[in-house]
Amino acid sequence: MTTSQYLTEYDDIVKTMQMYINGSKNGKSELMRPAFHPEASFFGYAGEQLAVGTKFLFDWIDKNGPAPKIEPRVVSVDILDSIAVVRLEVAGWSGKLAGSDVRMSDLFTLLKTANGWKIIQKAFHWHA
């Protein structure tokens, strides 16, 4: 991959991630849905409960409502040709379900499709 190719791919991946962030911040799953692959999966523990499936995620985002103070940081972006891994740290989560000032660590895996980079899985860890 040349430098210019790398930058193009990197920027496209960050744009996809920005849709996720926008949906989270506004409490609107419709804003983040286009970032996800139709076959995407979702895994993690919400307290003691194992949360599985993107439906859980989208319902949760809509029910949680706006989280205007989230502070997302991209910790790493690794690109391997058609696949990528993004680690995101999000501080300052708030909302009806999140509570206040919660921190979440996310591992996203992405696949490069004909329609651009799509999130194929989100795994998360809530920091209690």
Partner: protein, 213 residues
């Protein structure tokens, strides 16, 4: 460990044999007495040297990896490594590599059922197969591995292991893939996401990229 990729037919030391089997020298020495690992010796004045034929090791490994994982002699080594590290990070790191080695053992033996315990029941896979995007159940991996048959020369490397409390990502680089479906000497980059469920690390997703040869 460049000796693992050389075309030579023999492995010329405990170190090479251990590297070939992806285990410690201590373990492969034990396997000689307890599991019949086929080791040969050359007599010298001071000390015998050991060597092994790759085809014999492969045949032995194929036989051996058919046994259920619970009964695998690896368990002795596993329980040992669990007790040893005093550091909580090492415990998690080792638990993750053990899960990954189940995947590797299944891939090497061409036995999908052997790797099944490494995966969460709802696990999925995604990636490109011969130019076509594929996403679906992990069952496809088990079927593919079994149909592919043994890939005795796969040479996996952990390019990255990142652990965040209950989740982890593992980037595995695998060279030397072979078999009915893989072809000869293919290379795959795999990114696995794992979840710690009831104290056990399970793969929830496998993302793969086959490199063009």
């Amino acid at each position: 460990m460049p000796e693992r990729n050389t075309p030579q037919k023999t492995l010329e030391s405990w170190k090479q044999i251990a590297a070939y089997l992806d285990r410690s020298e201590r373990t492969v020495r034990r396997w000689e007495s307890s599991e019949g690992l086929p080791i040969h010796r050359r007599e010298h004045e001071k000390q015998d040297t050991v060597f092994a034929f790759r085809h014999e090791i492969e045949a032995w490994n194929r036989q051996r990896t058919k046994c259920p994982p619970e009964l695998s002699p690896d368990e002795a080594e596993i329980s040992h490594t669990v007790k040893t590290p005093a550091n909580a990070y090492l415990v998690e790191h080792d638990a993750i590599t053990r899960t990954m080695h189940r995947y590797i053992a299944g891939a090497r033996a061409g036995d999908g059922d052997l790797m099944r315990p490494a995966f969460h029941p709802s696990a999925t896979i995604s990636g490109y197969c011969q130019g076509a995007e594929y996403s679906g159940s992990v069952e496809h991996v088990f079927q593919w591995v079994t149909a592919n048959g043994p890939a005795p020369n796969i040479s996996p490397r952990f390019a990255r292991i990142e652990i965040i409390e209950t989740i982890a990502v593992v980037h595995l680089e695998v060279r030397g893939w072979s078999g009915k479906l893989a072809g000869a000497n293919a290379r795959a980059s795999d990114v696995f996401t794992l979840l710690k469920c009831d104290g056990e690390w399970k793969i929830t997703h496998k993302l793969f990229h086959w490199h063009e040869q």
